[in-house]
């Protein structure tokens, strides 16, 4: 028994040690370098800064006429509308697809699930957005984000619907509710846990998305936080302190989200991927 305890203790220590080396040091590296002076940061080491330069952060914010502020605004608007759109359309579709198990729904479900695998056709999408006169607009970008994340969202809602008994809806139906009332008043409150999961997962995906804004939302006024990061890569190539300050500023929202919703995020990702 004593030997087993000692073995566990060693495993604990080794595990923490390896974790710190592999997973903590890169973040520590970002953090200390974001607080150094330019010369010190360019050495790229992990020593504690000889002098703390918190002004790096305000410098990054005011850089290029407060571009980062614009980017934050754009990213938040994009994330907000994408998430709102997804939780409405996804919940409605997931509900009916799960409940009506006929051939039409099966076909629709199969077609939508294709979206989990096959990649989007990028240039034809740009062409389509141009023809609809919504290229380089937030509306067009939101629509593309919703379309790309619809399959995953429907899958989560559909999976959760399977655990809700149908008796409630039938009773409400007999009491004279119309389909819309049944959904809003009976089903919608029951979807709260999965909705929270969907909100968090789609918000993280959209906020961290680099590729789609790169293609569908070009232009300095439309920039998102991930694009500023990419642009600063070139402009700050000799001032790593600014680059890391920018990285830290963009990572902080995710860190806050993670601290508050750790369990929900993990559970949601597991549920989403296993049922697929």
């Amino acid at each position: 028994m004593k030997r087993e305890k000692r073995r566990l203790l060693i495993a604990d220590i080794l595990g923490v040690l390896v974790t710190v080396i592999i997973f903590i040091i890169p973040f520590y590296f970002m953090f200390v370098n974001s607080l150094k002076s330019q010369q010190e940061a360019n050495l790229l080491n992990i020593a504690w800064p000889s002098e703390l330069h918190f002004e790096n952060y305000s410098a990054v914010f005011s850089y290029a006429n407060y571009q980062l502020l614009t980017a934050y605004k754009n990213s938040i608007i994009l994330t907000l509308f994408t998430v709102i759109g997804l939780i409405f359309t996804g919940a409605m579709a997931g509900y009916v697809i799960q409940r009506r198990n006929d051939r039409v729904m099966k076909t629709i479900s199969w077609v939508i699930m294709l979206g989990l695998m096959i990649p989007a056709a990028i240039l034809p999408t740009i062409n389509l957005l141009q023809k609809l006169h919504i290229y380089k607009t937030m509306f067009g970008m939101v629509m593309v984000e919703i379309a790309l994340q619809t399959p995953f969202t429907i899958m989560l809602f559909r999976g959760y619907m399977a655990s809700i008994p149908t008796e409630l809806e039938e009773a409400a139906r007999i009491d004279g509710c119309n389909p819309w009332q049944v959904f809003i008043q009976i089903i919608n409150p029951l979807l709260k846990p999965i909705r929270a999961t969907v909100i968090i997962l789609t918000a993280v995906t959209t906020f961290n998305d680099f590729t789609n804004p790169l293609y569908f939302l070009p232009g300095a006024d439309n920039t998102t936080v991930q694009l500023t990061l990419y642009n600063y890569k070139g402009q700050f190539s000799s001032s790593y302190n600014m680059l890391f300050a920018d990285i830290i500023l963009i990572t902080i929202p995710m860190l806050i989200l993670f601290i508050f919703f750790n369990k929900r995020i993990v559970d949601g990702m597991v549920a989403g991927s296993v049922k697929g």
Binding site: V16, A93, R99, T150, Q226, T251
Partner: protein, 291 residues
């Protein structure tokens, strides 16, 4: 018949329409038209049909066709490494150690950090002369390695970063799988005198097959579609050494070869379909055979 009509009454088809409409307009329709545009010389305003020229070009030009090979190496290697490494981490984290909450959080967090941020940070860590990795290598007596500048090595450096970032999701899926295994199997096995290794091999491994299949499919498709990490770390270079399909599509777009870029997109679509669908079918069969 009556119950069916009641059903369709309660679950109105209109509920699916918003999702379906957005999905069809902004995802499916472009994919269908991409088949045509990939066979044209195209500048968004006018498209001139040119048959299979774009495809011929794609396969004959070495800088383009090599991207297919890189994509395959990238996808299979990241997927394989994640499947193996994540399994052992998950086993470690489902044992009786006390710090598993802390370790799990640390392993998971990179998943929430944007790929751009991770890519740029590892770029700095892999700096050829002063990067942390090389400082450590030199300190223990090795010569420094040009992680991202060496043609033969750059792709593998990006792959390692991808594994670091994407490991977590595989780990949590495995953990869920391991935790759902009935504990009585292990009790019975240990009464029969099975060693820890035998239990791992004969109980855990076969029973996490469903989780494993999800991980394989998920990470393989992710790997085949990869773009932002490559773009953040190497931009496809040095030369074309780390160009994957998605980065070639972007480059051809930036150069103005829209038809060629779309052909690349179609090839990527076919490649993913040809790998993912049969693989999923095969894995499902295997899962059924085990149970």
């Amino acid at each position: 018949m009556k119950s069916k009509s009641k059903k369709s009454n309660l679950y109105s088809f209109w509920f699916v329409v918003p999702s379906l409409a957005i999905f069809c307009i902004f995802f499916l329709y472009p994919i269908v038209t991409s088949l045509y545009y990939s066979m044209t010389v195209w500048n968004f305003d006018s498209a001139t049909f040119c048959g299979l020229d774009n495809y011929k070009m794609f396969f004959s030009e070495n800088s383009l066709s090599s991207s297919i090979v890189h994509t395959l190496i990238y996808a299979f290697l990241t997927s394989g490494l994640k499947v193996v490494i994540a399994f052992f981490i998950a086993i470690f984290l489902t044992s009786k150690i006390r710090t598993k909450g802390f370790i799990r959080s640390c392993v998971f967090f990179p998943n929430l950090v944007s790929t751009m941020a991770v890519g740029l940070t590892f770029c700095a860590l892999m700096h050829p002369t002063k990067g942390l990795f090389n400082v450590v290598l030199q300190a223990i007596g090795f010569s420094p390695i040009n992680f991202l500048g060496d043609i033969n090595l750059a792709l593998y450096s990006v792959i390692a970063t991808d594994v670091w970032k994407g490991l977590s999701i595989s780990v949590v899926i495995y953990i869920a799988g391991v935790q759902s295994i009935d504990k009585t199997y292990y009790e019975a096995a240990s009464i029969d005198g099975a060693s820890a290794w035998q239990q791992l091999k004969s109980i855990t491994l076969p029973l996490v097959a469903p989780s494993q299949n999800s991980i394989i499919i998920l990470s393989l498709i992710g790997g085949l579609r990869t773009f932002d990490l490559i773009w953040a770390m190497t931009g496809g270079g040095p030369g074309f050494a780390t160009d994957v399909m998605a980065s070639v599509i972007y480059k051809e777009y930036a150069y103005g070869f829209y038809g060629l870029s779309t052909a690349g997109n179609v090839i990527m679509l076919v490649l993913i379909s040809c790998i993912a669908f049969p693989l999923q079918h095969f894995l499902m069969k295997r899962e059924e055979a085990i149970q």
